[in-house]
């Protein structure tokens, strides 16, 4: 039976490769290029310092490297495995045929090795082999490295499978997709904690211990077995046997446990997830009590977007970095022995620093949220197309909501932080108003980039922007921010620095001198007419931010009127929403 299934998979693979559009080959080449560059730099590093690495340092590097392999596989492979196990379209057919569940599981298990695990495996085995060649390792070194790395990959992969098999038993079927994303975040935290293990065992920083050749992990940790086996094999020592056997046994044990759980987790899990949400307790509708809000179309579009965001946990994951940033930052601050009272008081220092940090965060999120607003329509885009809506209605509708959400969230956070730090009312109001105005421009740019780089991947619905466009978005958000902030910064520089700036202007040449002279001129005006210069600065800032926002939103509207192209990522083996690679939606 396995032969038939493997043959079938092979044919699917061959046909998939044959039917690829040329565009895909370019992305494969880019990916290959990235891997080659990565391998080149790692290999170069190994070649340069390989001989000088002591055995203890190598042991630490290998152990930490193996932990990274497991971490990467869990982190990146978890959603992929979920897709293979529970979202693959062929399962519907396979489960109706007389094929043992174990065989189907094995096929999925083997299939999932192509992808993240294979890439991670290659990225690690090449430099380790290179190291072996440089130090003229014993011949045993090479097969042992292969076996150890394979075992580590199998352990990582099996952990991801076990995580999925257990997870599916506790997830309500109707929330499967959302829950999966949340679990990915939890797995991220798990991996983060895993990497923190070495820090828990010692007071010294990780790099210091690594370079000093001090052990990073206790001896009983499996990654230590792996590195011990490889280091023993390097010298052709018989000491390799025990750790090698132990790591092989552990890998086998993981496979065995996964297989034992197959009957319980795989088939029943798939059935659970395939069931409709019919078991869900239904609220009884009372239309008479329904509040009706008929709005202007621009408001209605924003409201519709808000419902889609509010009711999908995955949409909120975009804000996870904020939580990580503030929560871990705060914990780190307090665990470092500091008190909040230490930073209370110097408002003239904490306020501008906080404004800078907040603007940095806004630049990161506003553009991202606005850019995803277009591809969010995905397969529902036909509705906007047939409705009597102009591109302006749609773009302004999407703009206001994608600006408002981060603004509200970050303002709440700012109020909490500002209250803790004891900011004055003027500081609160001016900071919030300033950011409110400046960030509209970022949202406008984001929205426009969303119209030219919209992407929809049914397997990863939150990934809604083409890679190249997302890079442009990141860069343009910061460039805009710097430009829009120029008048503000000029307003912020105290007049007392005028002598210093004049000195810089006189002494420095070229661009710095030029900039210093401009600042000096502005400061001279400011000294004479502080209110007028302040007002002009605010007007210029408003002009830049609102102007940029308006221009880009109009450009988005024009693009929507001409027709938006949402790139539909086709995945032949998972539940696909479209039958073609690219969906062109003309409005």
């Amino acid at each position: 039976m396995m032969k038939v299934l493997l043959h079938n998979q092979w044919k699917i693979l061959v046909n998939t490769v044959r039917s690829q559009p040329k565009k895909n080959y370019i992305s494969y080449l880019v990916m290959l290029g990235v891997i080659t560059v990565l391998l080149y730099f790692v290999s170069k590093g190994v070649l340069e310092i390989g001989e000088s690495i002591s055995e203890n340092v190598m042991s630490g590097l290998l152990s930490y490297g193996f932990l990274m392999v497991i971490g990467f596989i869990i982190l990146l492979g978890l959603p992929q495995i979920f897709k293979h196990l529970f979202a693959a379209t062929d399962l519907n057919l396979l489960f109706t045929m007389p094929i043992p569940t174990k065989n189907i599981f094995w096929i999925k298990y083997l299939q999932s090795f192509i992808g993240t695990p294979l890439m991670v495996f290659l990225l690690f085995i090449v430099p380790i082999y290179l190291y072996g060649i440089i130090i003229e390792a014993n011949l045993l070194y090479y097969p042992v490295v292969f076996l150890v790395l394979t075992s580590i990959t199998v352990i990582g992969q099996s952990l991801a499978y076990l995580f999925n098999l257990i997870l599916v038993q506790v997830v309500p079927a109707s929330r499967a997709n959302e829950f999966m994303t949340v679990m990915s975040v939890l797995s991220g935290i798990l991996v983060y904690l895993m990497f923190m293990i070495p820090n828990l065992t010692s007071e010294l920083p990780l790099t210091e211990r690594l370079l000093a050749g001090l052990p990073l992990f206790p001896k009983w940790v499996p990654v230590t077995w792996g590195s011990n086996a490889i280091l023993a094999a390097k010298d052709g020592s018989i000491d390799l046997i025990v750790p090698l056997v132990m790591i092989l046994l552990l890998a086998s044990l993981f496979i065995l446990v996964s297989l034992i759980l197959v009957d319980k987790g795989f088939r029943t899990g798939w059935i659970r997830l395939s069931e409709s949400g019919g078991k869900k307790k239904k609220k009884k509708s009372n239309l008479d009590k329904s509040k009706v809000f008929i709005h202007h179309p621009i408001i209605a579009i924003g409201k519709k977007e808000w419902y889609s965001i509010k009711r999908d946990i995955r949409e909120w994951l975009v804000f996870m970095p904020i939580i990580f940033f503030f929560v871990f930052g705060f914990i780190g601050f307090l665990s470092g022995g500091a008190n909040i009272s230490d930073i209370q008081g110097p408002n003239e220092i904490t306020w501008p620093i906080a404004q800078g940090i907040f603007l940095f965060i806004y630049a990161m999120f506003n553009g991202q949220i606005a850019s995803t607003a277009i591809a969010r329509e995905a397969r529902s885009y036909w509705i906007l197309q047939v409705l009597p809506l102009s591109g302006k209605d749609i773009s302004f509708g999407k703009l206001w909501i994608s600006w408002l959400i981060p603004f509200v969230i970050l303002t709440v956070i700012e109020i909490i932080i500002g209250t803790l730090l004891g900011w004055s009312l003027i500081q609160f109001v001016s900071g919030i108003a300033l950011k409110g105005v400046i960030t509209v421009g970022i949202s406008g740019i984001g929205l426009w980039l969303g119209t030219i780089g919209a992407k929809y991947n049914p397997a990863n619905p939150q990934n809604r922007l083409r890679f190249s466009i997302s890079i442009i978005l990141l860069i343009s958000s910061y460039i805009y921010l710097i430009l829009a902030l120029i008048p503000y910064i000029l307003l912020m520089i105290p007049v007392t620095t005028i002598d210093f700036i004049q000195e810089v202007g006189n002494e420095a040449t070229g661009f710095i001198g030029f900039v210093a002279n401009i600042i000096f001129t502005v400061l001279t005006w400011k000294a004479e007419q502080p209110l007028l210069v302040g007002a002009i600065g605010i007007v210029i800032m408003l002009f830049i931010s609102l102007g940029v926002s308006y221009i880009f939103t109009l450009a988005s509207a024009r693009k929507i009127d001409k027709g938006i192209e949402i790139e539909i990522v086709r995945d032949t083996n998972s539940k696909s929403l479209f039958n073609k690679k690219t969906g062109v939606f003309n409005k």
Partner: protein
């Protein structure tokens, strides 16, 4: 008001060398229930998509009450509603939210919306599920809420692509009655369907499309007189025109061979 509600003038769509729709010329009168028939891949959905502004024609015009939907999309779209065969709606909106959104776009007054929405939800047995998320709806329920959304703003022209697929018999019957009633009151319906009985019972006129060309157009009586067989059903006429007769003969041959064995 113009008595011609839908006009296809030399309407064509080509994909490179493949001609999907070939210079169609059809006029549908106000209040008419027009059935658009054809085998799979004949060009029905392509035509409907051109008429609703979802697909740009390669040539010709698609006019709604004299307004070219490609030249003046907003004006034309104010008069139409469309229900596709696979209504992909907003999964995170409730049925009620969806109707409210559509009503907002068409600026339907509050009270009128409430009365109309409740009436439609009641006709299609969706009142109980109105506050459930659309993602929890079955295919048939999605179809029904899409129809409610299409009718809530009382369009002048309604385009329906395979409207009865996925509907339970009661809802299908309700839809047929409702369409007839609305058309009698001045709405125009352009309905694509595979179910020939529906077309035969409901439609004032039918058009049959094959390989992108209209091969028959007229009322049932006109089609019967054209085929010179008064006792023929629409199914017979359809199969005869679209080449289905050959397949029918083949099937009967296979089954008669089977009987003799």
């Amino acid at each position: 008001m113009n008595s011609t509600s839908i006009k296809l003038h030399n309407l064509a769509k080509s994909y490179r060398k493949h001609v999907a729709v070939n210079n169609l010329n059809v006029e549908v009168e106000r209040g008419e229930l027009f059935g658009f028939l054809g085998p799979n891949g004949a060009g029905k959905t392509t035509t409907i998509k051109m008429l609703t502004g979802l697909l740009e024609p390669t040539n010709g015009e698609a006019l709604i009450y004299g307004i070219d939907i490609w030249k003046h999309p907003i004006e034309a779209k104010k008069k139409i509603a469309y229900v596709p065969d696979q209504p992909n709606l907003y999964p995170k909106l409730t049925g009620w939210d969806y109707l409210e959104f559509i009503a907002s776009v068409f600026r339907v007054p509050n009270e009128k919306f409430q009365t109309k929405a409740k009436e439609l939800l009641d006709i299609f047995n969706l009142t109980e599920q109105a506050h459930d998320l659309i993602e929890s709806y079955s295919h048939g329920m999605k179809q029904k809420i899409a129809i409610c959304g299409a009718l809530v703003h009382e369009p002048d022209v309604l385009f329906l692509d395979e409207p009865t697929v996925g509907l339970d018999p009661k809802s299908a019957r309700n839809l047929k009655n409702l369409l007839r009633n609305l058309c009698d009151n001045g709405m125009t319906a352009f309905v694509s369907t595979h179910i020939l009985e529906i077309a035969e019972q409901m439609c004032d006129r039918v058009g049959i499309i094959l390989d992108g060309n209209i091969i028959a157009l007229g009322s049932m009586e006109e089609l019967k007189s054209q085929s010179q067989k008064a006792d023929q059903s629409l199914e017979d006429i359809f199969l005869e025109l679209t080449g289905g007769e050959e397949q029918k003969a083949l099937i009967s041959e296979i089954s008669s061979n089977g009987d003799t064995k």
